[in-house]
Structures are given as C-alpha cells and as structure tokens.
Amino acid sequence: MKTVRIIPRLDIKGPNLVKGIHLEGLRVLGKPEDFAYQYYLDDADELIFMDVVASLYGRNNILEIVKRTAERTFIPLTVGGGIRTIEDIRNVLRAGADKVAINTAAINNPQLISKGARTFGSQCIVVSIEAKHKGNDTYEAYTNNGREKTGLDVFEWTLRAYELGAGEILITSIDREGTGGGFDINLIRRISESVPIPVIACGGAGNRQHFCEVLKEGKADAISAASVFHYNWLKDIVEKEKFRAEGNIEYLKRYSETKRPFDVWRFDIFSVRQIKLYLREKGIICRTSGASMVYK
C-alpha cells in the first residue's frame, strides 16, 4: 500500500487564517503561521496556504507569512492564490515555499505550467482545478475561487495540465467545499485514473469516513482539508488565546459566549494525529511521528 498524505489547508486573507463557510462569508480564526506550526507538531505531512483574495485584487501579501512559517516548519509548503508569472513563482519559492498551486493563471496562460516546470522542476508545479458539477457527469473548471466559469471540461483540462508538465493536480469540488458532506468520489476517481501524476483531493471532508473513502474509492494520493482540522483548535484559540486572532473576530466571540463550536455541527473535528490513527486502523499507510522513531 502506498503512503498517503494528509495536508491541512489554510485560507489566508491579509494577516489572518480564515475559513469560508458554504454560501456564507469568511470567518477569522487566527494567525496562519501559528496554525501552521501547530500542524507541523501534529504530524501534518505538508501544508497548503491559499491566498483567497489575491486572484481578485491582484495582490500577493503572503510572503511574510511564508517566511515566518518556513523558519520552523520543516515539511513541504505549497502556496497558491494570485500567482501569475514566473517571477511570482520565484518569489514564493525564495520566501520558503516548496511548491506553487496555480489555477486562474494556468488557464489564462497554459505556458506558465510548462515554463514553470522547465525552470523550477515539475514537482514544484501543482495545478489547482476547481470543478463544478454540470449534470450528466460533466464538470466545468472555474477560476477565482469558484466565481468565474471557463467553459473548460475538467477532465480535458487535467490531461492538458499533465501534458504541459504539472507535477501534481489539486482537485477541489466547488459543490462540496465547506459543506462537510463528503468528497465527490466520482470526480476524484476519474481525475486520478486519467493522469499518472499524484492527485490531491480537496473539498468536502466532514468526518473520518470521508477520508477513508476518498483514498480507497476515490484513489486520491493525498487529502487536503480545512474545517475538520481548524475547528479542533477552537477551544485553544478562544480560551488560551493561542492563535492570536485579530481583526473581525465575531465568530470567535460567539464561541466564547456559548462555549460550543457554534455552527460546526456538520463537521467532525479531529487532529491530524487522530485521523492518521483512524486511517491506519483501516489499513491505510501514513507516516508516523519522527520524534518517536529516533534513537538517543
């Protein structure tokens, strides 16, 4: 059995980690670099940072957060959101990221994939695809965080991205993202079976079973999730002020008053270690903590 990867995804707006809720807005949860370090200690295999406004307003303000994160988290970091040119890729990698995830820019300028792969190596280039179900088993690729249609068939675009030199595909189901209702297994499996490069499934994780399903039936090589992981630290955020939230902390204030993970009923919440334990019980291999594997 191959070793799978569990990758917490951090959506970043300005200085904050945020979480988008399906059909609602964004909630502020705290400082991304604090969460990132916590996940590193929690045995996360990699991290993904998505700058959620960069695509719309054309600004990249995430480099400082990347630098601070890279100083003490020694696991691979992928950064996406608003990356448009070879220079952008170079700057993100120099700041401390290991890979970039490109979506809008890759669709508008597919040569960015091939040039990026040629310049930095395929393993640095993750093509991020947002898929919306159009019925009749067809899916359309979207850009700008699910806001703009492209008219592209997701499967054709996936194949093309691979042919251009993408190292991995990050596939997000727009319909499932933030709902906690499970992955779109059909979508993930079709993507995974269509290209010989690794596929990271994103969008829809709500409980442990979803993780197992998307790996076994969806044939994903890795899973990226946000809500199930971030809300696990809610108690620490509010009571111990652990993740230094600033800005609009409306959501966190409500938790403080009710002492319940308000509105999180649709998600199981767990740490990375806990989900890995569950997966191992189901016969899926994931890496165990380094610290316990070292003599001394």
């Binding site: 059995m1 191959k2 070793t3 799978v4 990867r5 590193y40 295999d45 890279a70 100083e71 003490r72 020694f74 696991i75 691979p76 120099r94 401390g96 290991d98 930095f120 190596g121 395929s122 393993q123 640095c124 190292g167 991995e168 995974s192 079976e193 010989p196 490069i197 690794p198 596929v199 044939k219 090589d221 890795a222 994931c286 890496r287 165990t288 903590s289 380094g290 610290a291 594997m293 070292v294 003599y295 001394k296």
Partner: protein, 229 residues
C-alpha cells in the same frame, strides 16, 4: 576550550532549494555559507550539493560556473560531501533524462527514470511525491565491516530503520556497486537506492530539510561527523 561551530558550504549552481537546506542547517546550529565561488567550495569545511530539476541542466550549470573539477577536487580532500536529490544524482557517472549526460563520476553508476506502476490495485504515480520509509540495504556486507547496523557511524546513526522521509523525484540512482547503498526504499514493485555512502560522500534521494524531525537529525549528524578515512 572554544566551541567550534561547524561551517557548511552549500553549492549555488542556480538550481533548487538552497534556502530550505540553509534554514534547516542553521536550525541545527551550523554556520552556513551559500556560494558559487570556486575557491570557497574547494576549501569548504563541509560541502552540500543540493538541487531540484533535470540532470542535464544540473551538469550544464555546474560546468558554466567551472565547478565540475572543483567538486572533484573537493572530493579528493577527504572532507565530507552530501548530495541531495538532484545533487546526489549528479555524483554518478551518467544520467538518462532527455538524453544521456555525463555526471561527476564520483560514484560509478547511473541515474535512471523511476517508472509509474500498479501494485495490488494501487497506482504508484510519478513523480514520487510524498513520505516513504528508508530501510537497511539488502546486501549483507555490513556485517563484515564490524558495524551492528548499516547505519552505525554514518549520518543515519540515530535513526530507526523504517523512519519516514520526504521524496519528490522522478529519477533514481543505480550504483554499479551495491555496497554503496546506505538505504533503500520501496515504491510499487521497485526497491530503489534512497541513500548512498562511499568514503567521504553521502547522498540522499529524499529531502532531509523537508522531513521534519528525522531530517533535522540527519543534518545534525552531518554537522557533527568527521570523516576519518
């Protein structure tokens, strides 16, 4: 008695993950220098050849900077050299990637393509990206060298067999002499050489700077170790 901080020199030949490697080394207490200046590389206390990308590009970049003979000269000094990922592959005699290219020839053998494969209904994709275990090499020569394990007295000294490290590659090395295998890793139906050791040379196919605590431990040992010939 003053405490001497080991200085590690990282070869900058225009490819890859220099800063990640530097960050990890600094974190474990080394003094780090990143350079492409031939004299500084030749006289380094300890040398790391990093790299990500294609074999041909790697060798061209080294040649353009006049570093091929320099690295060979450094090797003759007997001081420690660590190749990482592409850096390890360049140590071989030749590499097959978009054609056949000559390597540094410090370890006889070649770098070849790792193939995608299916095993037990699982697809093993290429590039091989993700965590995987490093295992003791299958050949038994170590018992003749008087070590209890193949990793004793190497930079893997403090690791348990089977620890996970992070890979991101499409090619593997095949040394002519299997006694130079320091570690092996299974991927699909292939068991490939994931680390090498010959005299004062080490090579890791994986990225220690991306391998969490295990990787930091490897760098710690590299910073501590002295090669006694």
């Amino acid at each position: 008695m003053s405490v001497h901080r080991s200085r590690v020199t990282i070869v900058d030949y225009g490819l890859g993950n220099l800063f990640s490697v530097a960050r990890a080394l600094k974190y474990v207490g080394a003094e780090v220098e990143i350079t492409d200046v031939p004299e500084k590389i030749l006289n380094a206390e300890k040398l790391i050849l990093p790299g990500v990308g294609a074999f041909g590009d790697g060798m061209n970049n080294l040649r353009e900077r006049g570093l091929v003979e320099i690295i060979k000269g450094y090797f003759k000094s007997g001081r420690l050299l660590l190749g990482i990922c592409l850096g390890m592959q360049l140590l071989m005699s030749e590499g097959e990637e978009f054609g056949l290219h000559k390597g540094l020839d410090l370890i006889q053998g070649r770098a070849v393509r790792l193939k995608p494969q299916t095993k037990d209904n699982d697809c093993y994709k290429i590039p091989h990206i993700g965590w995987n275990s490093i295992l003791y090499p299958m050949n038994n020569n170590y018992k003749y060298i008087g070590r209890e394990t193949p990793w004793k007295k190497t930079i893997f000294e403090n690791l348990k067999e089977g620890v996970f490290v992070y890979f991101a590659h499409s090619n593997i090395v095949v040394p002519d002499n299997p006694t130079f295998h320091l570690a092996e890793t299974e991927y699909g139906n292939t068991r490939f050489c994931s680390a090498i050791h010959k005299e004062n040379i080490y090579g890791c196919q994986f990225h220690p700077e991306k391998s969490g605590e295990v990787g930091l431990e490897i760098y710690k040992q590299f910073v501590r170790e002295k090669y006694e010939g």
